[in-house]
Amino acid sequence: MHLLFAIFLFFAVDSTPNFQVRYKLVYQPDSTNLNNIKEEAFLLSIKENKQSYFCSEGFWKADSIQGLRRTGLLSAAEYMGDPKYRFRTAFDKFIAKSLETRESRIFEKISFDQFEFSVPNHLKWEMGMEEDTIAGYACVKATTSFAGRDYVAWFAPELPIPDGPYLFWGLPGLIVKIGDTRNQYVFTLERFGAYTGVIKEWPEYASRRKVKEASAQKIYEYREEVRKDPFGVIERRLGPSTFNGVPTSDPSIKNSKAWNNNPLELKLIE
């Protein structure tokens, strides 16, 4: 199965160190197609066990490039000229969680707009009796429901960080693996370790002029509208447009994203 490199690190520090977790998400964006499986890597950075910051690796890199562009360290010509500067992600989201106050702040880019909002934390966990070893950690099972899906999570009590990927948190241990009962969205821990680098606490993308505050409900509705008809949204904003020479109202273009019918959040978070 997996081969693990376990390194024991002992270090005496005055303050609580920072940690970074790398999760791999394997997901099925099309509920009708079992062969269309996608993957993405995510990073969860934990600062002094008080705050945590979560986003996809692609988002982190693309955002850092934006930072370099803003400070002038990377010129527009260089950026446009070399494809190695262009990072993509299917998850244009940044989640900042406070482990002390149990509040979260989310940045999300949907179509042309940038939003900032907060979701309530009403996650209720049911403790399970089963135990297993996952990624080398002794884990305990717990279950919950979130945004229209039922989830099974495995957390490691030996890592006393009450956090996990995305908006899954509040267990007495770091979540090592969590997936929905239909196996359509599964996060698995790939790497956990102390982190001495710079932690991104808020995306550079978020320029003060463009970010809008909104309620979680409005965000969910707008996100769903864009998901179901992305070209329609563009047309309503910019007027009729074409894609590869074909008008976007043409069914072959309009329905080209029909495979994207299985988002992580199926319902509004309660």
Binding site: A6, A12, L99, G170, P172, E190
Partner: protein, 881 residues
């Protein structure tokens, strides 16, 4: 009164013992300051499992309800940076304040190495990073190492022993089956994973309807826009050598392009880069449209190992391939290639014919020059979506080939001049459309071919037969062939429950003309040539046919029954010679297949079928045709019909988690033919074929097996297998009916390992043993053993040394030949911080200049000595991106 007392008693009864218990309290530092975010877990003392939990608030407070029916519990408090505290308490509501002292923590760090092979549904994904070793430059270096995957000498890729049906790059099929060009030139660094798509059905409309047992490969690129390619120029000595290769590639979401110019005279086979290795067409001619020469030079049996050891060439290849995705889901693809190659072959051949009574021996020394020139252009328009399928391929090929050969036969000199061009144009159309709710498929294939060939031999052989004279200065055989072929069919596909029905009706028409005549040198014109020395053959084949294919698919079972029925009409006529044959025959050829997946790793397959085949136009000609200088044939024979009953079964195992792949299959067949071909061999070694209407049978069996396992921790892949083949048939040799039995056994083993960062090994051993017997006389068996060892060393960054050794041991008929060893050394150095690589090759270090090979068939044995390329040194510069 009593009631009242009872009531009071009930009210005063003690509360049930399972009232909710609440554990609450505070988590604080030693100085009383709150610790928020600490994990408080309540454990059942006996099982030590967590029964309830909570996280401390910003104020440090916690409140945990617990509904477990236990007597006592353990409260444990844990958080980063502080000591772990726990307390055993009784299971009753209570308030506990925990004071934690600071402590440096030791948290176990983990980095999980991703699986080298992962599986999702029908897709197996091999991570390139896991299989890559430092010396790998192009994707074909890796594809051969993947367990379960094998790459043949000609570049064909097999998965579990079966050829793949499609080679995609990021989901697009740019090269349409001629994938060696991409496989050999696409940089490994541009690829993130190689996916095997099992049971791949390339036509999306048929995806859940028609099952496919073939696999496809999809190369996943790291970036959405990839430009890759390489440019290489090399020069060397012994004698003047060159090698150049410029292959730029571009892959974006909507466009793909591969261009290539390759030229060399070091023996590298460029024609193989554009060879069709997988073909989807089922409508083509029963033999494909590839070139079948009617006249030939007597070939020299070329060695079975790498071309670079023996091929003396001067080759130029240009190839342009472009795919564009257009609107409305259309894709257009243009592939074109031009090849110009001059090859020289030098060797000698000893041929021994067994006639069951005695043997005839012949010794020839040969020097052949082949001038190959061909141009091929294909235009492919396709639309392949879930609701529509249309594909039209227009292809044109032209070969302007010539060959010359000088031969010394039993020390008598002879010259041959061959002109063997060929021209063909074809169009294939497939269209799947809906009529109401019904899916219908229309397929059509049409082609036109022209084959104007000639062979001139000096001095002219068979002078008595052709010109009634004892000697002739020269003879020239002219052959002209024209063919028109069309095959059209309409079918529909209907799914009913677990069944899929595919009835089909179609019509095939083949019209060919062959005429041939001899041309004598000036001075001999008064000799009348005619009669049996000329051919004016008309061949017409019409075949209306119908077919019903039924597939049943349920869970892990797949069954298929194919029942084609056809009415075959043949009209073969040579008006000038007054010979003809008409044949009408109704034929039924059922076939049954089965596949069962026992579990996600193991599958079983079986098949049984009957085939009734007819001969081709090349089998009949009522006049003489000089095939090569010592083979003149007259085939005044009826059309051959052969019936074959065959059955096969096998097992396939693939376990990506433990990286074990294996397959075993057994095939048996029994056939009967209506004609017995006989051959008469004269003292000069010339062969005359005749046929008698004599029913004869043949039967045989074939066993193939291969296994592979990849050990990820030591980065080693081991593969082993064997092929055993046996068949027996009846042959007429010099008038006598003889039973001929052929047996061959070929086991192999291959190990490749890169467990050490500095050195890689790749070792394989192959054994080929042939034996046969004619009329009960067992001929001496021949055994050939081949050991290959490749050692790759990486002494320091950027440097790479390979030493390749091939060791041949041959034992022909009991006589051990001189063992031969070949060694090639290559040095590569990549200049740091640049894309330039320097390479030095020294081939055939031991200067082995000749090799003996042998081949046997049912009634002859041929031993050839081939002159190889001498030792040579080549220096090149390569620039890749």
């Amino acid at each position: 009164m009593r009631l009242g007392l009872l009531f009071i008693f009930l009210v005063w009864a003690p509360a049930p013992s399972w009232a909710q218990v609440i554990f609450s309290g505070q988590v604080q530092q030693m100085d009383g300051e709150a610790i928020p975010g600490a994990s408080i877990t309540i454990h059942d003392l006996r099982s030590s499992k967590i029964v309830a939990f909570g996280i401390s608030e910003k104020s440090g407070a916690y409140s945990i309800p617990c509904n477990e029916r236990v007597d006592s519990v353990l409260i444990r408090v844990r958080t980063l940076g502080y000591t772990l505290e726990e307390k055993r308490v009784a299971n009753i509501s209570q308030v506990t304040i925990f004071r934690l002292s600071e402590e440096s923590i030791a948290l176990r760090e983990v980095a999980v190495r991703p699986d080298p092979i992962t599986r999702h549904g029908d897709t197996l994904s091999y991570s390139v990073d896991a299989f890559k070793s430092k010396g790998d430059r192009v994707i074909s270096d890796i594809v051969g190492k993947l367990p379960g995957v094998e790459v043949r000498g000609d570049g064909q890729i097999l998965y579990q022993g079966n050829p793949i049906n499609k080679y995609y790059i990021d989901g697009l099929d740019l090269l349409g089956g001629k994938y060696k060009l991409a496989n050999d030139n696409l940089a490994v660094d541009a690829v993130t994973s190689v996916e095997v798509l099992e049971n791949h059905q390339p036509i999306r409309m048929l995806d859940s309807l028609v099952f496919s047992d073939k696999a496809a490969i999809n190369i996943r690129l790291k970036k959405k826009v990839t430009t890759s390619g390489s440019a290489q120029v090399g020069a060397g000595v012994a004698p003047m050598l060159w090698n150049a290769n410029v292959t730029p590639m571009l892959f974006t979401k909507a466009n793909q392009f591969i261009g290539s110019y390759q030229s060399n005279n070091i023996g590298a086979d460029v024609a193989g880069q554009i060879k069709m290795l997988s073909s989807m067409s089922t409508m083509g001619r029963e033999n494909d449209d590839s070139k079948t020469d009617r006249v030939q030079l007597v070939p020299i049996a070329t060695p079975s190992f790498s071309n670079t050891r023996w091929l003396n060439n001067q080759a130029h290849l240009g190839s342009l391939n472009y795919l564009k995705k257009m609107g409305r889901d259309y894709q257009i693809r243009i592939n074109s290639s031009y090849l110009n190659d001059i090859q020289k072959q030098r060797g000698n051949t000893e041929t021994v014919y067994y006639t069951g009574v005695d043997t005839v021996a012949l010794f020839e020394e040969k020097y052949n020059r082949l001038y190959n020139e061909s141009l091929e252009v294909t235009v492919n328009l396709e639309r392949n979506t879930k609701n529509k399928y249309l594909k039209n391929v227009l292809a044109g090929k032209g070969y302007w080939d010539k060959q010359t050969g000088i031969l010394s036969r039993n020390h008598v000199p002879l010259e041959q001049m061959l002109r063997n061009p060929y021209f063909t144009i074809s169009n294939t159309l497939s269209n799947i459309f809906k009529v109401g709710k019904q899916l219908m498929t229309f397929e059509s294939y049409t082609s036109l071919n022209r084959l104007p060939q000639s062979l001139a031999v000096t001095p002219g052989p068979f002078s008595n037969l052709i010109a009634h004279t004892d000697s002739l200065e020269s003879i020239k055989q002219h052959v002209n062939q024209r063919a028109f072929y069309t095959n059209n069919a309409l079918s529909f596909t209907r799914g009913v429950g677990f069944f899929t029905f595919m009835p089909k009706i179609g019509f095939q028409l083949e019209q060919q003309k062959m005429n041939s005549y001899f041309e004598l040198p000036h001075g001999e014109e008064e000799v009348v040539l005619g009669g049996e020395l000329e051919n004016d053959l008309n061949w017409l084949k019409m075949k209306p046919y119908g077919e019903l294919k039924i597939q049943w698919k349920k869970e892990s079972w797949r069954l298929g029954l194919d029942s084609p029925i056809s009415y075959n009409i043949f009209k073969i006529e040579d008006q000038a010679l007054g010979r003809n044959e008409n044949l009408n025959k109704l034929v039924f050829e059922p076939r049954f297949t089965l596949r069962y997946e026992l579990n996600s790793f193991l599958a079983v397959h079986a098949a049984m079928g009957f085939k009734n085949q007819f001969g081709e136009m090349e089998d009949i000609h009522y006049g003489y045709l000089l095939k090569n200088y010592r083979n003149i044939q007259l085939r005044d024979v009826p059309l051959q019909q052969s019936k074959v009953w065959s059955g096969s079964t096998g097992v396939q195992y693939r376990n990506p988690l433990s990286a074990i792949f294996g397959s075993v299959s057994v095939l048996g067949n029994y056939g009967s033919r209506n004609l017995m071909y006989g051959s008469t061999v004269s003292d000069e070694g010339s062969i005359a074929y005749t046929a008698q209407a004599l029913e004869n049978t043949t039967y045989g069996g074939l066993l193939t097996s291969n296994f592979g396992k990849y050990f990820a921790d030591v980065k080693t892949n081991i593969a082993a297998g064997a092929t055993v083949n046996w068949n027996t048939s009846q042959q007429l040799i010099n008038g006598a009916l003889s039973q001929v039995v052929n047996r061959s056994t070929s086991p192999f083993v291959r190990i490749n390992t890169n467990f050490n960062k500095l050195i890689d090994f790749d070792y394989s051993y192959k054994l080929n043993a042939f034996g046969n017997s004619v009329a009960g006389n067992k001929n001496k068996a021949t055994v050939q053993q081949i050991d290959n060892l490749k050692i790759s060393i990486y002494p320091f960054t950027g440097a790479y040394i390979t030493i390749q050794n091939d060791y041949y041991r041959n034992n022909f008929g009991g006589a051990t030949q001189r063992n031969q060893i070949f060694t090639d050394v290559a040095l590569r150095y990549k200049i740091a911080n640049s894309r330039i690589e320097l390479q030095l090759n020294w081939n055939n270090v031991w200067n082995t200049t000749s090799l003996s090979t042998m081949s046997t068939n049912s009634f002859s044995y041929i031993r050839s000595e081939y002159f190889l390329r001498p030792t040579q040194v080549l220096a090149s510069v390569k620039f890749g991106w």
